[in-house]
């Protein structure tokens, strides 16, 4: 909800409320918790990529002194999955394993060494099955599907949609361009490995602590798999040592920690090793994509057809949504009068992919923005002009029924272009030095909850004690993005209190009202709005009570810094709160947030893509390339982001810089690859995260479009800024060397391959050319909304 900040609490660059606790090492992450009598758990994982489990012999492990519990698949037979449409996982494998690292059995023992030994003593008899590791194999293989046994066996999900008359759009086009791109999969590599701790509390209820971004979903799935009522389970999300989407699914170790505590009666802790984190994965999907766009002679898009093949790994996870995200958000930056999207998610015998910062959208954004760069060349336009001719306008509706409200994209573009001198530098830098440009956009939370319901997506409660102390309760889990500080700041601004003086209780299903979780960049918008509503209700109670007490008009009473101002009187907050409590009784207010209903279309697939507000970004990247070694270094990045309003500019800048870092990792070096079904290197040595030495200077430019529905006008910043960086770097490499890298990451060997191609008289391209031989079903035709611009 829009409200004008007037106290300067919102908008102030202030430290996180937990900054000192972090810097002094006092924050308790999952593995920092321990209980007396606590057992240590280990999970035995599959060494086969695809196999039927013939037998699991745990007798030797059971006999080992110090072992207190062993679980196998038959102990937890209920299937689960985060999305209602993908109930395809088990806590421990039942019948089959589907990738190396799939959980099979769990042990709990007095000491980690005993647990390790017990795990080694479990004997698994496998019957090997045919292994599928590539999307082409997944399409072609008909024997032994990874799930089920249907005719299109390894297909997880397929989508085929057409909005408006795409063929007509191509018919009127002056120029049509087609490209094929590949974006390699990658891992979140949050520094803290996942972990969970199960405890049976004194009242007999199960308490599961977990380094999760989604305590609410964990609560639901624990109840389902452990076959207990939710009221008998408490979930506490510990502060996560980085999430980025890694901890938005529910995992084997969380369910097993709960069950193990129940069967042993003792606290049991499971913490994954780094190797296990790479097997738990849920990282960025590898995406092979094809895009065809028609343009008028002056560069206006007449139609677009986008096709994606996404490699899901062995389980559904969030994949049904991931797939739709590879197609749905192309229209929120560019006015596309007719749009066709076909996509398929395929199962392979590799760890399951899922959501990572930007969920499903960095891949098509890379393809789209490089494609437009090439189209600009074709048409003799500069990359800024072609984009500006197609930009969406604020307060419009897209051809696929997405509602665009605030949009600071033009300002983002103008700022980065001006500050970087992009248009003057482009094509004028020396050989090997280049500059590139791209834009992006992301959601401020998904319009629909993950499971169908009509309840709020976020609920906040505020309570005031007799000393005037204010406690804010929200299930939002701080995964480092600063949601706790955001809540304190929003409430602080409304009540005139310093954020660091508020108590914020978060992420505990016993204590806090529901927030769906820290994913989809939803927390500032949704929990922020719920918190603001609760705070404004509280303000109203206090101001009314003071007005009544002083017998003056309520309009004459307002919130000041730590005081209530009534004419020339200033009543300290604590005193005002006591007056209000005397007037109203216990001061507890609540706020809720539910996105508007009218922001989505009415077609199968329409649930993914709508958001109450979209954030926008633009990026210019300056790169240097060594044509002899193929090494690319990014020298400087300009990133402008429309965050609606910066509730805390220090934290906004941090999200921008962090997004740039993660984007540079993805475009330059990070890749989760496999040799057959074996991970190429499940370690932080082999999986290359950029160090400080790879990090360029970043010019962060905060653009404020003041969204009409965001809390104080705010929108998201956690994910969006990642998106344009990747294509901007790729476009910069083209400016530097004249080559087109249509597959990322930009490994030096690929850069040289493109240069070799150029030298041989080719187009100077490295990238895929073919798509799997796959026939999509004919598209579901959806009429564009009447207000959308059509062909």
């Amino acid at each position: 909800m829009r409200s004008e900040p007037h106290l300067g609490i919102v908008g102030r660059a202030a430290p996180r409320v937990d900054a000192l606790a972090q810097a002094t090492g006092r924050v308790k992450y999952l593995d920092d918790l321990s209980y007396s009598g606590m057992l240590h758990g280990k999970i035995l994982r599959s060494t086969e990529a695809h196999a039927r489990i013939v037998a699991v012999d745990t007798s030797a492990a059971k006999a080992l002194p110090g072992v207190h519990g062993i679980l196998t698949g038959e102990d937890l037979p209920v299937a689960f999955g985060l999305l209602p449409v993908s109930q395809d996982e088990h806590a421990l494998a039942v019948d089959k394993v589907r990738h190396i690292g799939d959980p099979i059995a769990a042990v709990a023992a007095e000491h980690p060494d005993i647990a390790q030994r017990a795990m080694e003593l479990i004997e698994v008899t496998y019957e090997s099955l045919p292994v599928v590791t590539t999307m082409t194999e997944a399409v072609e293989t008909t024997e032994e599907p990874i799930h089920g046994d249907g005719p299109r066996n390894n297909r997880d999900r397929e989508i085929s949609l057409e909005f408006g008359d795409v063929d007509a759009g191509f018919d009127i086009a002056y120029h049509i361009r087609e490209d094929v791109f590949f974006y390699q999969g990658n891992n979140h590599a949050a520094l803290e490995a996942h972990g969970a701790l199960g405890v049976v509390e004194d009242d007999g209820r199960l308490h599961v602590f977990s380094s999760t971004q989604v305590p609410h979903y964990l609560h639901r799935i624990l109840a389902k798999v452990l076959e207990m009522p939710e009221s008998r389970i408490r979930v506490t999300a510990t502060p996560t040592g980085g999430g980025f989407g890694a901890k938005t699914d529910v995992f084997s170790h969380e369910l097993v920690a709960g069950q193990m505590a129940l069967i042993t009666g003792r606290p049991v802790k499971f913490v994954l090793t780094r190797e296990e984190v790479f097997y738990a994965h849920r990282g960025r999907h590898p995406v092979l994509m094809w895009v065809k766009t028609g343009f008028t002679s002056d560069g206006r898009i007449t139609a677009m057809s986008f096709r994606t093949f996404i490699d899901g790994g062995a389980y559904g996870s969030y994949g049904a949504a991931s797939l739709l995200y590879t197609g749905q958000l192309q229209t929120i930056t560019y006015r596309i009068p007719a749009y066709r999207f076909e996509g398929v998610r395929l199962f392979t015998n590799k760890p399951a992919c899922g959501p990572k910062r930007g969920h499903g959208t960095p891949q098509p954004r890379f393809g789209l923005e490089v494609h437009l760069d090439k189209a600009a060349d074709d048409l003799g336009l500069d990359p800024v002009t072609i984009r500006k001719r197609n930009l969406v306008s604020p307060n419009t509706v897209t051809v696929n029924h997405l509602r665009i409200t605030s949009c600071g994209l033009t300002e983002c573009i103008d700022r980065v272009v001006a500050d970087s001198g992009y248009l003057d530098k482009r094509r004028h830098l020396p050989q090997g030095h280049g500059i590139g440009f791209a834009i992006g956009a992301y959601m401020s939370g998904a319009g629909l909850p993950i499971y169908f319901n009509d309840m709020p997506q976020s609920e906040v409660m505020i309570k005031v004690d007799r000393g005037g102390g204010v406690t804010v309760y929200s299930m939002a889990a701080d995964c480092g993005q600063g949601s706790t500080t955001m809540l304190a700041t929003v409430v602080g601004e409304a009540l005139g209190l310093d954020p660091s003086d508020l108590v914020v209780i978060t992420a505990d299903t016993d204590l806090t009202p529901v927030d769906l979780g820290s994913y989809s960049s939803r927390v500032t918008f949704m929990a922020g709005n719920a918190a603001l509503e609760a705070a404004l209700k509280l303000t109203d109670l206090v101001l009314t009570a003071i007005a009544d007490e002083l017998d003056i008009d309520q309009d004459a009473v307002e919130i000041g810094h730590g005081v209530v101002v009534a004419g020339d009187r200033e009543i300290p907050w604590a005193e005002a709160a006591r007056i209000a409590e005397a007037r109203w009784g216990l001061l507890v207010t609540t706020g809720t947030y539910k996105p508007p209903k009218d922001i989505k279309g009415d077609y199968r697939g329409a649930g993914v893509g709508p958001s109450p507000a979209y954030s926008y970004s633009a990026c210019v990247a300056d790169v240097k390339c060594d044509p002899e070694t193929g090494h690319v270094s990014v020298e400087r990045v300009w990133l402008a982001h429309d965050v609606g309003r910066a509730i805390n500019p220090l934290l906004v800048r941090g999200q921008i810089e962090g997004s740039v870092h993660m984007a540079l990792g993805e475009v330059l070096m990070e890749e989760q690859t496999f040799r057959g079904a074996l991970h190429s290197g499940p370690s932080l040595l082999d999986y290359k995260i950029p160090t400080v030495l790879e990090m360029p200077r970043v010019e962060s430019i905060i653009v404020e479009s003041i969204d009409a529905e965001g809390p104080f006008g705010a929108k998201e910043v956690g994910q969006g800024p990642l998106l344009p960086v990747i294509p901007a770097v790729v476009n910069a490499v083209h400016d530097a060397l004249g080559i087109r890298l249509d597959a990322i990451p930009l490994r030096p060997d690929k850069v040289l391959a493109a240069l070799d191609d150029l030298e041989r008289g080719g187009p100077g391209r490295y990238g895929p050319t073919d798509l799997p031989d796959y026939t999509f079903r004919s598209p579901l035709r959806v009429d564009p909304p009447p207000e959308a611009v059509t062909v």
Partner: protein, 154 residues
């Protein structure tokens, strides 16, 4: 079990540890100093950095028995909530911690640098923290936070 004597954050601790116990396990599990983190246990991420005789080392690669008679400093030993080390304050002020997981190691590494060189250049700071991975911040705010507490800027 091997007898070891360690000075940890100024206090002398006498312990018996199995020979294969690493200093990481000892500080976290035997001494309860959980401010020291771990991200790989193989020397690849830097999160377990502690100071031995003032020098940053990886506690996951150090046998506790080999640290006997050494002075060990962990994050708990350089400042508190009420009396933080200037770096601890500066990290908050510069937004140099997001999830906070790499922060203790990062601060200790920076402290060792500043103790040796009170006025490091930005390049020197970057080289000093090049073994500490941070996945959240993109490092730039960390460089600013450290630069802000050099002698020159204080």
């Amino acid at each position: 079990m091997e007898p070891v004597t360690l000075t940890v954050n100024g206090a002398t601790r006498r312990l018996f540890v199995p020979p294969q116990r690493t200093l990481l396990e000892t500080v976290r599990e035997d001494l309860g100093l959980t401010g020291t983190k771990h991200g790989c246990e193989l020397g690849e991420c830097g999160a377990c950095t502690v100071l031995i005789d003032g020098v940053p080392i990886l506690s996951c690669l150090t046998l506790t028995v080999n640290a006997t008679d050494c002075e060990i400093v962990t994050i708990e030993g350089i400042g508190s909530m009420t009396e933080p080390h200037p770096l601890q304050r500066s990290f908050g002020e510069h937004g140099a911690a997001q999830c906070g997981y790499c922060t203790p190691a990062m601060i200790l590494t920076a402290k060792a640098l500043l103790d040796r060189d009170p006025n490091p250049s930005e390049e020197t700071i970057a080289e000093a923290i090049a073994g500490n991975m941070c996945r959240c911040t993109g490092y730039l705010s960390i460089l600013s936070a450290v630069a802000a507490v050099t002698e020159e800027n204080q």
